[in-house]
Amino acid sequence: MLEVKNLRKEYGGLTAVKGISFNLNPGDIFGFIGSNGAGKTTTIRMISTLLEPTSGTAILNGADVRKDPMAVRRMIGYMPDFFGLYDDVKVWEYLDFFATIYKVPVKERATVIDSVLELTNLTVKKQAFVQSLSRGMQQRLCLARCLVHDPSLLLLDEPASGLDPRARAELKELIAELGRMGKIVIVSSHILPELADFCNTVGIIERGELLAFGPVDKIVQEIQPHRVLVANILEKADEASHVLSGLPSVLNSAYTDDGEVRIEFAGDFAAQAQILTKLVQDGFQVTAFREDSADLEDVFLRLTTGAVN
């Protein structure tokens, strides 16, 4: 379990992280969302023991990053937002180097390297030099490096940046698999729709403050408590909006000049069907009728202002 308690980091007069707190359990995949300069990387670096917090702390399975950083390091796999590869070594040598550093027993090393290569789908590249790998493969190799010592927490800083769609899809599947293996995974990313796909928890950070934290659905529900339906009507959208306002399941209805009627709605699917029926029966020419569901991107844009430290 990871407990982050009032984590704060100051650089001179600048406060990069303003006392953030959250808890994560094994199997949680946490999407850490924020603009550049919001404090994501600083938070991740403090949890990974690379930066000392100004105040507050993070505790991983009972080990405190401030009091026992070595114990924390043994339990984390940190993947920064850059590759960090030695260019004169083969794939297996690179993994062997880190397996040695993490004190993986000599007898187990070969098996461990084979298994992480298999997990990251790099077995065929075992004897290749790291600089000969594609960007996506290098990214997977970095992830394989994080896994050689079987960490309980993975800190992945912008793991999908610069990857093509296929490599992203593969990485996404791999991260989801790590969550299923019971690891805590913290992923920072700008690609919000992808995070929503595989993260069960997200946190939105701006100017060092955690603005929202929790399951994706819950956060979306918080900013948009009711469902919103959108109907596009050829003529008389104002009249249509007025008619719909009288229906019991409609909380509010508004229209725009281009014929769009937005309906805040608190009913079930049958009530939703009745709205469309009513519009058609009353002679309105409906060209489209759909639900406008908020997503992580809407939440992010709604909660944040784009300001940086």
């Binding site: 650089y11 990069a16 992280v17 550049n36 300069g37 919001a38 404090g39 994501k40 990387t41 600083t42 670096r45 990974s48 023991t49 690379l50 930066l51 000392e52 070595m70 390091r73 043994r74 984390i76 940190y78 920064p80 937002d81 850059f82 590759f83 960090g84 590869l85 030695y86 260019d87 004169d88 070594v89 083969k90 040598e93 180097f97 880190f98 040695t100 550093i101 993490y102 004190k103 030099f129 600089q131 490096r145 060092g208 940086v308 430290n309």
Partner: protein
């Protein structure tokens, strides 16, 4: 103390650096295939050098060869180590080491031990011609103890050069900056200062004081000293000072890596992402 020694020199996972040094400088396959040409050329030069020594061993004082050894080691050590820490930063692998369960002292010790192994190999190659010259030299009886002293002067001075290079590599952002700084210090200390002092009219006997730790001066005194006389102020004292200096420089390096915002100071310019 015993535990610290064990952590640094026995249970230190960073001793894998010795293997990395071997791969980088002695592997002749894959990306290191250029090493084959360099090593072949060096072996040819070495064979020629040994032949010259064999032919002229009667007139070559073995300590003269130690002069050459010091020169080679002094050039070789910075070349090997200038990127030891700065290079990790440039390749951005430094964070990976810092996030791993190794102490900064273990990292420094690992880098140093890696270089030590390579220096020992170079030094070993010099032992063959030195031994030939020591056996064949007939102008004066060679003291084996004096020869060992000269060898230790060469090797311990090389340790200082290694430690100095690692220190600079830890303190600067780019490896080449470390190389430039170390070579600058060495050229100044070994050549420019003695030349300047002698050019301003300082007598060779008074030069001994400012050049007390100068390895070439130490070797000159060892050559000139009566083989039967005790070591005195030249030889062993410098060896001890060199060893102590290497330890101080390594401790300083560790301390450099410990300054609190080390990572922040080395964030690339223009990278505003916190």
């Amino acid at each position: 103390m015993k535990k610290r020694f064990r952590d640094l020199f026995i249970d230190n996972p960073m001793l894998v650096e010795m293997t990395r040094f071997r791969r980088r400088f002695l592997t002749v396959k894959g990306t290191q295939s250029a090493n084959a040409a360099v090593l072949t050329m060096l072996l040819i030069i070495y064979a020629g050098f040994v032949l010259v020594v064999i032919q002229n061993c009667a007139v070559i004082h073995p300590i003269i060869l130690v002069f050459l050894e010091i020169t080679v080691l002094t050039i070789f050590a910075p070349m090997m180590l200038y990127g030891s820490i700065a290079g990790e930063r440039e390749k951005r692998t430094w964070d990976l080491l810092l996030a791993a369960p190794v102490t900064k002292a273990q990292i420094v010790a690992g880098k140093f031990m890696g270089a030590l192994g390579a220096l020992a190999i170079v030094s070993l190659f010099f032992q063959v011609p030195i031994l030939i010259a020591a056996i064949g030299y007939d102008e004066q009886k060679i003291s084996w103890w004096k020869l060992i002293e000269a060898e230790l002067v060469a090797f311990t001075f090389a340790l200082d050069v290694c430690a100095l290079t690692i220190l600079f590599s830890a303190r600067v952002k780019r490896g080449l900056m470390a190389l430039g700084a170390v070579l600058g210090i060495l050229v100044t200390g070994i050549a420019i200062i003695p030349l300047f002092l002698s050019s301003v009219g300082m007598a060779s006997s008074t030069l001994d004081v400012p050049c007390y730790l100068h390895p070439y001066f130490v070797l000159t005194h060892l050559v000139e000293r009566d083989p039967q006389s005790p070591s005195g102020i030249w030889g062993v004292p410098q060896i001890l000072v060199y060893v102590a200096l290497a330890l101080v420089l390594l401790a300083w390096t560790e301390n450099t890596l410990n300054f609190p915002e080390n990572e922040v100071k080395f964030i690339p310019k223009g990278d505003k992402n916190a």
